[in-house]
Amino acid sequence: MSLQLKDLYEGFRNPEVIKALALQIQKEAKTLPKKIRVMEVCGGHTHTIMKYGLNQLMPENIEFIHGPGCPVCVMPKERIDHAYTLAMQEDVILVTLGDMIKVPGSNGNLANARAKGADVRFVYSPMDTIKIAVENPSKKVIFFAIGFETTTPMTAALIDYVIKNGISNILFHINHVTVPAPMRELIHSHDEQVNSYDSQIDAFIGPAHVSVISGSKIYEEFPRDFHIPVVVSGFEPIDVMEALLMIVKQFNENRCELEIQYTRSVSYEGNVKAQELINTYMTLDGSFKWRGLGRIRESALKLKDEYKAYDAEVIYKAILPIDEIDDHKLCICGDIMRGIAKPNECTVFGTICKPSSPLGSCMVSSEGACSAYYKFGNLLSP
């Protein structure tokens, strides 16, 4: 049997270091003033926690809440339907990143659109769109842009190239979302079924790669305005354990701060050039609907008005569906992301809702909490 990527990861599981960190966390946790619930915002962290059973190494007074996951997971059906509709146009080539292939919309996913004859191309880099546009001058090439802060500057770089080089047949459908907006929303959120609901989140683990671009500064408001500490962490199990230890120490020492665990690539300011490029072409949108969380104000980006000639949402407005589509009634992804429920408490988990036929956001991508529970369920504590 040949080695796979997962074998590569195994090398970063140093059981001795993990165990040593677990002991340290358990020791520190004995003096915790209260039970703490730590939200890992990013699905990459959820994946690490479940894969290495880090949740089982936690003492009883530390609990993980699995956050909004990945940009693919939170993409609502409405936006997938846009991509599908655009792809079905005769003169359109729809270009997007590979992650989008299986995400279900109301009429199916983009792979289904392709099976029906639509020209959908999955690229490795946004810049690959240029070649497609040059080779197909009679077609409109629409780049369906997805991703958190980490991927946004690459789209901005493509826009910059298109405009500066006068390429007339590339358009953009922007779905870039931001990480702090849902964090803010989750702090304020209410469970509609339970009238009295307070925020369940005592601390956040922030994803390192977002901060490579945006800096750690994007989380500054959480300790300052909400009294919730944030530690920006890498994705290896040892990184996550170290981040947890940093959080526990903050509580024990009565501190509430923004700290960086992953200092190798993350700075306070981030990549200023990339930030400026984004700000040149894009602006925060009024509101964006997140699968599982609903509409969140200023949580996504769109092209600035002066670049509307490149905006597929403006140009194809007449044909793009506008109906709101509710999340599946049985799906409890919203509650999971709010920390009220765990995936295995969902009535459709693993039965109707599976990675091969996902109903909700947390099952859509391998980074979603439900998908991680499904895959690594044998590691679950009772």
Binding site: S2, L8, G44, H209, V272
Partner: protein, 94 residues
């Protein structure tokens, strides 16, 4: 979970601002348009969907490359290539 394998710059085309990088033996191209500091041949960078995101301190880069190297050494050529490319394309980073 992403590995973040550092890539070493082996060539820079000043016309296009595109670098040729070596990621543990796999050669590929990456745009330097997003890099906000001076980079030169021999520097280490992190790559994400065709772009260099940031420069990494050489000492840190070598340290992680050593760990990755020990594991990758055991892999066959095709798997090695896939693993390295897949790392870069990891959706978690998006």
């Amino acid at each position: 979970m992403c590995l973040s394998i550092p890539s070493k710059i082996t060539k820079i085309d000043p016309e296009t601002n595109i670098a040729t990088v070596d990621t543990m033996g796999v050669t590929r191209q990456a745009s330097l348009d997003l890099i906000d500091q001076e980079v030169t041949i021999g520097d280490y960078v992190l790559i994400h969907i065709g772009f260099a995101m940031n420069k990494i301190d050489e000492e840190d880069a070598l340290e992680s490359l050593k760990v990755y190297g020990e594991i990758i050494e055991k892999m066959e050529e095709e798997d090695r290539r896939n693993a390295i490319l897949e790392d870069d394309n990891c959706p978690n980073r998006a």
